[in-house]
């Protein structure tokens, strides 16, 4: 599967129907563009451009504007993200406490690099973030909604192994 394609289960009529539910929930009000995009991203795990074009159509605003908002905020992605988004904090405190070896460990285990942040099977995406506001727990890693504190390279490898085995 190429990286530009959404994983099969994402691109179903069910998710598309959800887009309409989301739009209706916000009364198709262009002022709610950001919450609408957030919810759609939750459904698709990213914002496919064709869905953005559809959102623009429904809200009666230009596709260029919708795309502009999407690219302005780093929370939005127009590229498919992995099922597990691994955020490694690289803020000052975490950096000092060894976030770099964590990043390297993730890259090594998942075969990722600086330019290639999502695994080919769309299971994992690696992101570095600037500060998660939990410096007392440095180095911090957040995977989807779960926070892991004082993560060592061994612990990181363990977490990844658990997630991987859970998927098999």
């Amino acid at each position: 599967m190429t990286k530009n394609m959404a994983p099969e289960e994402l691109s179903t009529s069910r998710t598309f129907a959800q887009v309409n539910e989301i739009l209706d929930k916000h009364e198709r009000n262009p002022r709610s563009l950001i919450p609408i995009l957030q919810e759609i991203q939750d459904a698709y795990r990213y914002l496919p451009t064709e869905i953005l074009a559809y959102v623009a159509t429904v809200l009666g605003i230009s596709p260029a504007r919708v795309y502009g908002v999407t690219t302005f905020y780093s929370q939005f992605s127009t590229q498919p993200k992995g099922k597990y988004v691994i955020q490694v904090c690289d803020g000052t405190a975490c950096h000092v406490r060894g976030s770099n070896p964590l990043i390297e460990a993730v890259e090594k285990r998942l075969g990722l690099s600086e330019d290639n942040r999502t695994t080919d099977d769309l299971l994992f995406t690696l992101e570095t973030v600037s500060c998660l506001g939990a410096c007392g727990l440095a180095p911090v890693v957040v995977i989807n909604e779960t926070v892991y504190g004082e993560v060592s390279v061994d612990r990181m490898t363990e977490i990844l192994a658990e997630l991987q085995s859970g998927e098999e």
């Binding site: 179903t12 074009a53 559809y54 159509t57 605003i61 260029a64 795309y67 690219t71």
Partner: protein
């Protein structure tokens, strides 16, 4: 109402909505990149910074005047801020000024000189992005963009198109078409107003002067030029002459020196348009058509309607624009008349307009491999050609247009102004309905620069309700008001550019704020000075109808002078895949028009029925954007066959078709 003190001088203000306007009223030309009175205030360029007591340094454009304000405009701090801002812009700018199309007319270049920026301390731009030449009329060079956003606001706020937008943030910010596509793949209507406000060379007219020189050098080609009405009152500006001066005679002389064989006047074709369009208008009224007729002279408006209002396409006059009527007349009638092969005649239009470039390329205007109009040059390009060969327009002796098509009436000349088409048609209709020749009456109600000009005119027992709009947003709003029944009209004249063709994006960039109204005024003066002021009086038209067309709206006229429209997909290449696999393809259009007609409900219903019948696996349902069949919307495509007007009630019928397809016996539906 109140008084503010500017540099120690008291200045009263009244209607001015911001301090910048008051400062300019006081005769101080504070520089700006991002301020245009007709657009929303952006406050991004920081050129108009002022120091106000109690407020500190603020943007004058985004500060409302208050009584008693003490404003200073050129303290050392302010001058330093402006200089630094320009210096920073230049540091991230492709500074190849000498080879830039905009050189000499560039606001960035001008301000750098004016503010005394002699050194760029921050290095040079090390990034080079590809130039986008996919659009028929507009060349986009992102390396020259200073992110003032004038184009974005113009496209969205005045034209309601929104083809361009900002993307990303901070130092990665850019102005690009939706989804970073090329400008040729998005819903750009080629009006060019984006580049009319672009202060730099980031958006410029796609120059085709080389092709013109090539044709002129080709001995086998007879080069025939038509000059649009609005060009004559603006081309002088490029040579330092006042806006509004009619330089038609000098332009003819210049074109002759360049080697043009025949120079004709598009005003003649405008007269022809008046006759054909009036005929169509009266026929529609006789047929009891309740919908208003929209004019079709403006190709940017036509394209806008095709993208955004496919439901109104049947209300568009079928008349070609004067440019295309002219091309058709040359390649069919004139070629016959002078016994030439139409392919040896090379028709160049000189237009105030960039959308005309795209119009001339439409496939409808190519017959038997003969292109009606071979090349469209904007006023700007022609001025550039004359400069290239060293001709100073002001110094030439006037020369007359050629016969037989170098003659248009005043009515035709007025086409260049917003309201001109209406006025020309009114003169004709008034006579027609009255059944007699009436003296020429001016209709001041259709003149001027209000965005929407509604007029009621009574001729005998007949009342004609007209609306003149310019700017596509106004057109869009007019359509909405007509649909809701808020306004009832018989004829709507639409021009995409504010002010009509005189304000076209192909004209020289206006030097002053009253430049456009000077041009409009100049055109009305030119029309007043013509001997014949009604289209029907044009003696050449009589010959055309006698020898070629027969009568208005005849089959020959229809074939040569009328056209058809088609709905267009707004953005190329976006489809929503709903179910994977290689099954029967069922596509439901969720483009603007079909969506509004309820295609989403159809899609949901289809999906749930397929699911409940257990056909979900066998059928690949996709939501798609526009089959360009909007009149028949909502459209559903099953296999390779498009089904029109698929309402909810027809879903069972669609299900049957799908079952037939799956069992291998597709049945045709009506």
């Amino acid at each position: 109402m109140g008084e503010i003190t500017i540099n120690g001088r008291p200045i009263t203000f009244e209607e001015e909505s911001n301090v910048l306007e008051v400062i300019r009223k006081a005769g101080i030309e504070l520089p700006t990149f991002c301020y245009h009175s007709e657009l929303s205030v952006y406050g991004g360029c920081r050129m108009c910074v002022v120091d106000i007591d109690g407020m500190g340094v603020v943007g004058a454009c985004s500060t409302a005047p208050r009584d008693g304000m003490m404003v200073r405009t050129h303290t050392r701090e302010l001058r330093d801020i402006r200089k630094l801002a320009v210096e920073l812009l230049l540091a991230d700018h492709d500074r190849e000024c000498t080879t830039c199309e905009k050189s000499g007319g560039c606001q960035l270049q001008r301000l750098a000189t004016q503010l005394g920026v002699h050194e760029i301390r921050f290095g040079e731009r090390d990034m080079s992005m590809p130039v986008d030449d996919s659009n028929a009329a507009i060349l986009r060079n992102p390396n020259k963009c200073i992110l003032c956003g004038d184009c974005v606001r113009m496209c969205e706020e005045v034209q309601e198109v929104g083809a361009l937008g900002f993307i990303n943030r901070g130092s990665n910010a850019m102005v690009v078409p939706a989804f970073e596509k090329e400008m040729g793949d998005v819903e750009c209507v080629n009006c060019g107003q984006c580049m009319a406000v672009c202060p730099t060379g980031a958006l410029v007219v796609k120059s085709e002067t080389d092709r013109a020189f090539e044709a002129l050098a080709d001995e086998n080609k007879t080069v025939i030029v038509q000059i649009a009405p609005a060009v004559r009152v603006a081309i002088g500006e490029a040579f330092g002459l006042p806006a509004g001066d009619n330089l038609l005679g000098k332009l003819v002389a210049a074109l002759k020196i360049l080697g043009v064989d025949k120079v004709f006047d598009t005003s003649l074709a405008a007269d022809l348009t008046v006759i054909e369009e009036t005929q169509e208008f009266l026929q529609r009224r006789q047929a009891g058509e309740s919908a208003p007729m929209f004019t079709s002279c403006c190709p940017a408006w036509v394209k806008f309607a095709e993208y955004r209002h496919p439901e109104m396409l049947s209300s568009l006059s079928s008349c070609r624009s004067p440019q295309q009527m002219f091309g058709s007349m040359i390649k069919r009638y004139y070629a016959d008349m002078i016994e030439a092969n139409p392919n040896d005649l090379y028709v160049i239009s000189i237009m105030p307009c960039t959308a005309k470039k795209a119009e001339a390329q439409r496939p409808e205007f190519v017959h038997n491999e003969v292109t009606d109009v071979d090349l469209v040059l904007t006023t700007q390009e022609v001025a550039a050609m004359l400069k290239e060969v060293g001709l100073d327009l002001g110094r030439l002796e006037v020369q007359a247009l050629d016969s037989p098509f170098g003659f248009g009436t005043g009515a035709g000349v007025m086409f260049g102004n917003s309201g001109g088409v209406s006025e020309a048609v009114l003169r004709h209709v008034a006579d027609h309905l009255a059944g007699e020749e009436k003296p020429v009456v001016d209709y001041p109600q259709v003149r001027g620069d209000q965005g929407i000009k509604p007029i009621r005119i009574s001729v005998g027992d007949n009342t004609i309700r007209l609306a003149v709009v310019h700017g596509l947003k106004q057109a869009h709003q007019m359509i909405e008001r007509i649909k809701t029944g808020e306004i009832t009209v018989d004829l709507v004249e639409v021009m995409a550019c504010p002010g009509g063709c005189t304000g076209g994006a192909g004209q020289p960039q206006p030097e002053r704020r009253d430049t456009k109204s000077q041009r409009a005024h100049g055109l009305y003066i030119s029309e007043k000075m013509t001997q014949l002021r009604k289209s029907r009086e044009n003696p050449i038209l009589q010959t055309l109808y006698d020898n070629w067309l027969g009568e208005p709206a005849s089959p020959t006229a229809h074939d040569a002078l009328h056209t058809t429209y088609q709905s267009r997909r707004r953005i190329l290449g976006e489809e929503i895949a709903l179910e994977p696999g290689e099954q029967l393809e069922v596509q439901v259009c969720v483009g603007t028009f079909c969506y509004l007609q309820g295609s989403y409900d159809v899609l949901s219903q289809l999906l749930s029925e397929l699911e409940s019948e257990g056909l979900g696996e066998a059928v690949n349902v996709r939501g798609t954007f526009c089959f360009e069949q909007c009149q028949g919307g909502p459209s559903v495509m099953i296999g390779d066959e498009i089904q029109a007007r698929v309402t909810l009630e027809r879903v069972p019928e669609m299900m049957e078709t799908i079952r037939d397809h799956l069992s291998g016996t597709p049945k045709r539906l009506d």
